[in-house]
Every structure is written in C-alpha cells, then in structure tokens.
C-alpha cells in the first residue's frame, strides 16, 4: 500500500473541512466577542476542533491531551480569572494607536499571505503532499509517544516538570494580595 495513494476518501475530506471551518470560525468569534465568557466558550470550541484535527493527523495521544489540558485545565483557569474581573469591555479595540496596530496586522497578513503562497507552491513536495488517510501502524499512540518521551526526551521531560513547578510558585506569588511593607504572612 503506497503512502502517496489516491485522493482522500469523501468522509476524510468532510471531516477535515468541518474541523478546519470550526477551528477558524470559533477562533474568529474568540477575538471579536465583547463578553469574555462568550469568547471563552468560543475558545473551547476552537480547541475541541483543533483536537479533532490532531486526531485526523493520527496524533491520538495529543488529541486527548489537547482536550484535557486546553479545553479542561487552562479553560478553568481562564474562567476563574473572568469571574474575578468580570466586566465587559465598552470599547474592545483601542482607538489610540489604532493606525499603528492596523499597520501591524496588515504587515502580518502580508507575511502570512507570502508564506501561504510558498506552501501552495511547494505542495508537491513529499512532506507536504503525503496523504494523511492511511495510518502508519502504531503512529501517535500513547505507547509509542510515551516510549519516545521516556527514552530520548527524558531530560527535557523532567525539565518541563521543573518549569511547571516554577510557574505554579510564580503564579501564587504574583496573585497574592500586595502588602505594603513586604510582609509575607
């Protein structure tokens, strides 16, 4: 069975387009909503659609982690922050300095247009044209990714745990009420 085999099946195409549209649509909703809660719910939708895209790339372990970590843990964190600071914006986009920011967005848009152009030009390259419908046996499962994590990437894995510990301590330190005089209590 060739990896470069024929056009993807109709079902795979439908799944890809629905998930891609969901990802981008919910992302657009996220950055345009006035209410923080509505934006958060759109963000959850976007992350779930991204997890579906991971699954179509046969990255099953990462898809489950995406739902657990992003749509679960990080969202809970954001919801707590919204509950602490619950006020909607009256003016979502600043008028002061808007010209400069709009120029920045235009420049970024032009950059992404050029990169997309390069990707479209190089779409016949093997790494970009390989179809994702035919699974490689054992690719992206918990067993194989876990084996890689605990053999080749054991040191970075442990370093990430230290990073998370530092982030938790830093978060507690920063979010603690400020006391003049510097008392820890």
């Amino acid at each position: 069975m060739s990896v470069m085999a024929s056009a993807p099946s109709l079902l795979a195409q439908i799944a890809f387009w629905v998930l891609a549209a969901g990802t981008l649509g919910f992302a657009l909703l996220t950055i345009t909503r006035k209410s923080a809660v509505a934006a958060l719910m759109a963000l959850v939708g976007s992350f779930c659609a991204v997890a579906g895209l991971y699954a179509t790339l046969s990255a099953h372990f990462l898809a489950v982690l995406q739902v657990l970590v992003y749509a679960g843990a990080i969202m809970v964190l954001f919801i707590f922050a919204v509950m602490i600071m619950s006020r909607d914006e009256t003016q979502p986009v600043a008028l002061r300095g808007l010209f400069l920011r709009a120029a920045g967005v235009l420049a970024a848009g032009y950059l992404f247009y050029r990169v997309a152009w390069i990707v479209a030009l190089e779409r016949e390259a093997e790494v970009l044209s390989r179809s994702t419908v035919y699974p490689i046996p054992g690719f992206g499962t918990v067993a194989s990714v876990g084996r890689l994590l605990f053999h080749d990437f054991l040191f970075p894995f442990e370093a990430v745990s230290i990073l998370l510990l530092v982030a938790v301590v830093g978060g507690v330190l920063l979010a603690r009420p400020f006391r003049p005089g510097g008392g820890a209590s």
């Binding site: 992003y70 990080i74 600043a94 390989r130 994702t132 890689l148 982030a167």
Partner: protein, 99 residues
C-alpha cells in the same frame, strides 16, 4: 487530506491569533489569542510530523502544551495583580513598573 491543507489552516489560525494580540485591549483576550497562536504552532508541528512519519514532533507539541499551561498560569496571575492595583485590565494603560 494532504499535509499542506493542515499547514494552511495552521497559518490562518496563527494569523487570527496575531490579529487578536495586536488589536484587543483587554489583557484576558490577549492571553486567549496567545493560546490560539500556540495551538496553531502545535498543529503545524503535528502536520509535519505526520508528513515525515516521525513522532518527535508529537513530543515537541507535548512540551508546547506544558508551556502553554505555565504561560496561562503566570499570565493570569500577572493580569489579576494588575487588576488589583489599577482596577482595570486594559493593556494600553499599563506602562509603568512602579507600584
């Protein structure tokens, strides 16, 4: 689907995140847009990982996820402490380091 379709989706998602970071004033929305950008990066990593048939991209995407969790924790703590001292979280007013 071919890999380049995923790369194009990832590019578009990253651009939406960039627009959110540049245009929104509220620090919460800026952090959400940053999360979108990180997810776009992970998507590109996984697409190339699939195209090359190499699982190392999955490990890097895993690290990106851990990094995003750490970034959200510290970023939201900073936003909460800014809110506590200034009573608002618009980023264009935050330009001083004194307390």
């Amino acid at each position: 689907m071919p890999g380049y379709a995923y790369i194009l989706v990832s590019l578009a998602l990253f651009f939406i995140g960039t627009a959110g970071v540049l245009l929104r004033r509220n620090a919460l929305f800026v952090l959400m847009s940053l999360e979108l950008q990180l997810a776009a990066g992970s998507l590109a990593l996984l697409a190339f990982s699939r195209g090359l048939g190499d699982e190392k991209g999955h490990v890097v995407a895993f690290f990106v996820m851990a990094l995003a969790a750490a970034e959200a924790a510290v970023g939201l703590a900073i936003v909460v402490s800014v809110y506590r001292t200034r009573k608002k979280i618009d980023l264009d007013g935050v330009n001083e380091l004194r307390n």
